[in-house]
Symmetry: C2
Subunit: 157 residues, 2 copies
């Protein structure tokens, strides 16, 4: 994906960047080509990249290699149609930390539009749910283990 001048975008949306900066979840805005134009403090915390390192870069920065093709297919379609598939849905996917660790993130996406309703990008709001996923997996495994123990027991009178 081509890169754009991040400073032009952030200057044009100082107020928006101010609110994004205040938000406690990662807020990542990307332009129609998929270049990052907003990267707030929580995004720095979750992914390990500073704003200086992330702005202007492609979203590949945090997308695992095996997910990139599907990611960009969906991205291009969303920009073309102006509609996200997801509506109110929270998406759960793997992502990459700067240090190479895999994260489990939960995010929503929305279309960013200018005053004339033209789509200028996509905003993702992202939570790191790596620990929560591990806990849920542990619970499901515990259920499976217990069911394996309990089932023979149940067959006894």
């Amino acid at each position: 994906m081509p890169q754009s001048d991040p400073l032009a975008s952030t200057r044009a949306s100082d107020h928006a960047a101010g609110l994004a900066e205040a938000i406690g979840d990662a807020v990542v805005v990307s332009d129609p080509e998929g270049a990052i134009t907003v990267w707030n403090a929580a995004a720095e915390r979750i992914f390990g990249f500073t704003a200086a390192e992330a702005l202007g870069r492609s979203l590949d920065l945090i997308t695992p290699e095996r997910h990139r093709r599907r990611h960009w297919d969906g991205y291009a379609k969303t920009m073309r149609t102006g509609v996200t598939h997801y509506g109110a849905e929270t998406l759960r996917v793997p992502a990459l930390h700067k240090d190479g660790r895999q994260l489990s993130i939960a995010f929503t996406v929305g279309m960013v539009r200018d005053a004339s309703d033209r789509v200028t990008g996509i905003v993702a709001v992202i939570r790191d749910e790596t620990e929560r996923w591990a806990e849920e997996k542990r619970l499901r495994q515990r259920v499976a283990d217990l069911e394996a123990i309990a089932d023979p027991a149940r067959r006894e009178p």
Copy 2:
């Protein structure tokens, strides 16, 4: 809590409101007195109140009665100190839908500041996790039920 003129606040932050509107999670900004100044489309979807119904109202609109005192104690302290207790934490609390239903929400909070770094409000980003909580509760109950069954079984040779 006193109410303020919501239109003055939304006009002053058109760009911020534009980004907030695009975001797929509920974005609720409240002023130092706790009156709602930003209420985006996802907030309408999750809580059932339109922006017209919510703007200018107190956060009591969505706070269960039994949680209000603690909520406002924390709110006042946050406005006084300019620091949220929570940092990167995601908070999980009950909330109210317009139709009276209790919701389980997960939210982050952050301080909104003006150009001179004065705190002008608090931004909450909110997900409805009512179904997810019910599912987690069901899983934990399943573990407890299975443990009650499995434990006597384990005591057998």
